[in-house]
Symmetry: C2
Subunit: 193 residues, 2 copies
């Protein structure tokens, strides 16, 4: 059955960081809910507190914020990744980030209260969170580096590597704002060679 397959893929993800007991598996299973978003659909509005985190099974979600009325893409998430508005989710307060669906997307969600329950009762979940954050941490550092001493073209190349599985499915304008360059510049970079 399909739900089972999908849950399996989350379990596999967890197991790259921690061993999962049968008990924890069943507690997770109880709390993970399947959800579908249509292309273009808003997942989170900036005026809301983010109370859910989404583990993507299919499609792409994007986090962005508004600057001078324009959407600035913060990051993109594809299969086997978690998306939320980090500060909002962990500190239960509003933040500037919106989340929307770039493609028709399927995901599993967990509510923040359920996650806290798991943290309180399964120390290995704390470890999972620490370790998985660690790997995202590395990406953020790389991105900061890439943002400083590299040309627009090098940044685009770096982006293609980082998002090799999905970069070609993301509209140009969104990529440009993610990279901190204008659409026009990105269009010219793509036109070269």
């Amino acid at each position: 059955m399909k739900n089972i397959e999908i849950t399996e893929s989350i379990f596999e993800h967890f197991e790259t960081f921690i061993p999962l007991s049968e008990n924890l598996k069943s507690e997770l299973e109880k709390r993970l809910k399947h959800i579908v978003f249509k292309k273009g659909e808003t997942v989170l509005n900036a005026n809301q507190i983010c109370t859910e985190s989404y583990f993507i099974n299919k499609g792409i979600l994007r986090t962005y914020f508004l600057k001078d009325g324009k959407e600035i893409s913060e990051y993109f998430c594809g299969i086997d990744e978690w998306v939320n508005s980090p500060k909002s989710f962990m500190q239960r307060k509003k933040d500037i980030y919106y989340i929307d669906a770039i493609e028709n997307t399927e995901a599993y969600l967990i509510n923040v209260n359920d996650l806290v329950y798991l943290f309180d009762n399964f120390p290995e979940m704390e470890r999972y969170a620490r370790l998985s954050m660690g790997s995202v941490f590395g990406h953020l550092m790389e991105r900061i580096t890439s943002m400083r001493f590299t040309s627009a073209k090098e940044r685009y190349n770096h982006f293609q590597k980082t998002y090799s599985a999905i970069y070609h499915r993301i509209p140009l304008g969104m990529v440009a704002s993610y990279l901190g360059i204008t659409q026009e510049t990105l269009s010219r970079i793509r036109a070269e060679k």
Copy 2:
């Protein structure tokens, strides 16, 4: 006695995230070692694995890497902050980062093996790590934003806010590379108004 005072300041730091049992306190006390670095001294070389994390009590440490033979400052750490080479420390492998002392610095260090021992035996330490990483996470995201759609001057202002306690003690050249601009540009920004 001085050592006790300093240890207290680390404990206070931990207690902003988790309650500390007497047992955990004494286990920490056994493992934290006091260390002193002279201005300019190298704390970590890029060709080494980073096996220690430093909690600063006085002074400033800097993390940097080399690009085209030039030092690019990655971040600065002052009082009550942890410094290490993140990937190297957590994954026990070499990375590109050096650490050095910008001022005469005093710190407490913990060895990675001791930290792992604490993670294994005190689940609240896992929680501490998760929560404290969370706050650094927020700073990294802000920095990425600041790096994209803001002018050199705005970035410098943002830097002054982020590092309000120590920004004036960091040499201009190091600040410039941290911000991703040249020394000359930063010098001109400072000269204005």
